[in-house]
Symmetry: C2
Subunit: 334 residues, 2 copies
């Protein structure tokens, strides 16, 4: 107890320093990678409304929940979901242990380098690839595999590590919201255990604030040591109507702000904005074919069609990435 | 932005005051409802070890995760689970809308007041009662039902509101851990949506830090408004091996401290203590038949048998409620 008592004044000092640094940080533009315009303005105005004490729209810090899709919202999803690159790399790595894959689709095509043919089987083919690479090991083993991959793999055309391809303007939004006492959750269709190993260092989001799709796991004793074994069985698909379901299950309260980029996020934005008081919904519109990728209504990945219409009807913020963003990636902003 | 800037010094002042209050609070005993002894000492020593900067067992605040069972660990579970009293009260309230229940077990017996006969059907009967009372409405409607019940219902023998029957010594442990930068999660076999409406005010635990059993929910549009409908279908049973599974799914990291009272918590304690570095596991042993209830190896509710043996082998803390606790309930400590 003595130790605790002597440490506390030091903690108190830490609080003051932190708050002082924040005060200084706030005098510079917290969204400096955003061009001035309606989108940037809408974010700043929303935050001011819900954080101004005594104002009619004030929201207590505990209720300042913001949810973010990941693929296409915090990092790209082209030419295909990054997690699928991870799975394909794993298929290659695991192939020596699976001689039967040489004659079995979708693995056979994958191993000859014909990704298109492999994925021609659609969702079923993807599910086979995911189960073959994401199940059958312990949670700890899978975590290590993800960490090793994310530390070394590079995007096929951008030739950069995937964690360097996160959107700088969105990193600023995350930091800005957290500086204003928001909790920032990821609510992604991607695998929850695929994201958690790197969201802390990349986005500043701890594992308990990551929600995603999952496979079932089982508690077992291996040589007297408890382990969680990953089973080749779907547990939850965190997409479309699944997003509000997962938000309710995991967070247990309705967010006041939601950020997405596709029709898969529409129900999350509807659920968020249907609550009482000030609510904020934002769609990223991928309009920059030069610096990133341009796609919307007809894309098979990250289609934004119904969502774009509803955003216009309801007055949600729609970010034109080409117009609204000074920079896309962190290295451009340095 | 101006508002934000002018507010920040006030926040900074708030931090100083809070820390100062903490420093004062620490000079009084944070576990004052605990008698001096091995159990109390073990809690204090563990917290000192993991919070002393520079010490070999120091754990960064972000990793200070503590998990607590609820029934029998934070509040009683006798003569039966409190959530079952809630369900039985709902059966009575809903009976006029279900004339068919008069001839259908387990409802028929319940409505004549014969709880024992109703529950003779075991798990199947309980499941029928839960589904009839916990499903078929929206999440918001169910939340209101829970809030109304918890505000008015009283325990059949203690004649007190259930939220006044929480264990004062455990409230002190929760507060003590949080004052030392722990996050305190509930990991209960009880219904997640049954607990969340009152865990904030009763335990200081926000909804996003409550994990429990659940039924499936579905996102729907009712008259253009998004709702989550509760379905009569089990989603997850958060008991035994399910507890580590849910901890991994919800928190995504291994706790460093776990508190339980039954064999249903054993896997959670095993999972927690199997991690590296300092770990803490505690079992409440219900030994006080006068002030609370006395039961262990042969109880159908909250059986503590294998867990008691393993606690002794592994040196986990076992709380003898009769010996170790000065008070059981908050009203005794006032």
């Amino acid at each position: 107890m003595v130790t605790k008592r002597t440490l506390l004044p030091v903690f108190a000092l830490g609080f003051v320093l932190t708050s002082a640094s924040l005060a200084i940080a706030q005098t510079v533009d917290p969204l400096s990678s955003w061009n001035d315009g309606k989108a940037k303005q809408s974010i700043i105005e929303f935050v001011a409304k819900v954080t101004t004490k005594g104002a009619p729209d004030f929201v207590p810090p505990a209720e300042r929940i913001a949810v973010f899709d990941n693929d296409g919202t915090l990092w790209p999803e082209q030419p295909m979901y990054f997690q699928l690159f991870f799975a394909l790399d794993l298929v290659k790595a695991l192939a020596p242990k699976h001689p039967e894959w040489k004659d079995k689709e979708p693995f056979a095509s994958l191993l000859t380098g014909d990704v298109k043919a492999a994925l021609a089987g659609g969702e079923h083919a993807i599910l086979e690839i995911v189960m073959a690479t994401h199940a059958g090991m312990t949670a700890a083993e899978f975590e290590k595999t993800v960490k090793d991959w994310i530390a070394t793999a590079k995007h096929p055309t951008a030739k950069r590590p995937y964690t360097e391809m996160v959107y700088q303007p969105m990193l600023e939004v995350l930091a800005y919201l957290r500086a204003n006492d928001f909790k920032t959750f990821i609510v992604s269709g991607g695998g929850i255990e695929f994201m958690r190993p790197w969201t802390g260092t990349t986005y500043g989001i701890p594992p308990e604030e990551v929600i995603g799709s999952s496979i079932k796991t089982k508690f077992e004793m291996h040589d007297g040591k408890p382990v969680l074994v990953r089973l080749p069985k779907l547990n939850f698909i965190n997409d479309k109507g699944g997003k509000p379901v997962a938000i309710n299950q995991h967070i247990g309260r309705r967010p006041i702000a939601a950020f997405g980029n596709s029709d898969g996020d529409l129900q999350m934005l509807q659920w968020t904005t249907a609550g009482q008081g000030q609510r904020f919904a934002l769609y990223l519109h991928h309009t920059d074919g030069d610096r990133e990728w341009a796609y919307d209504r007809n894309s098979s990945i990250g289609r934004l069609d119904k969502g774009l219409d509803e955003a216009r009807v309801k007055g949600w913020t729609v970010v034109d990435m080409k117009q609204d963003w000074k920079f896309i990636y962190p290295h451009e902003a340095r």
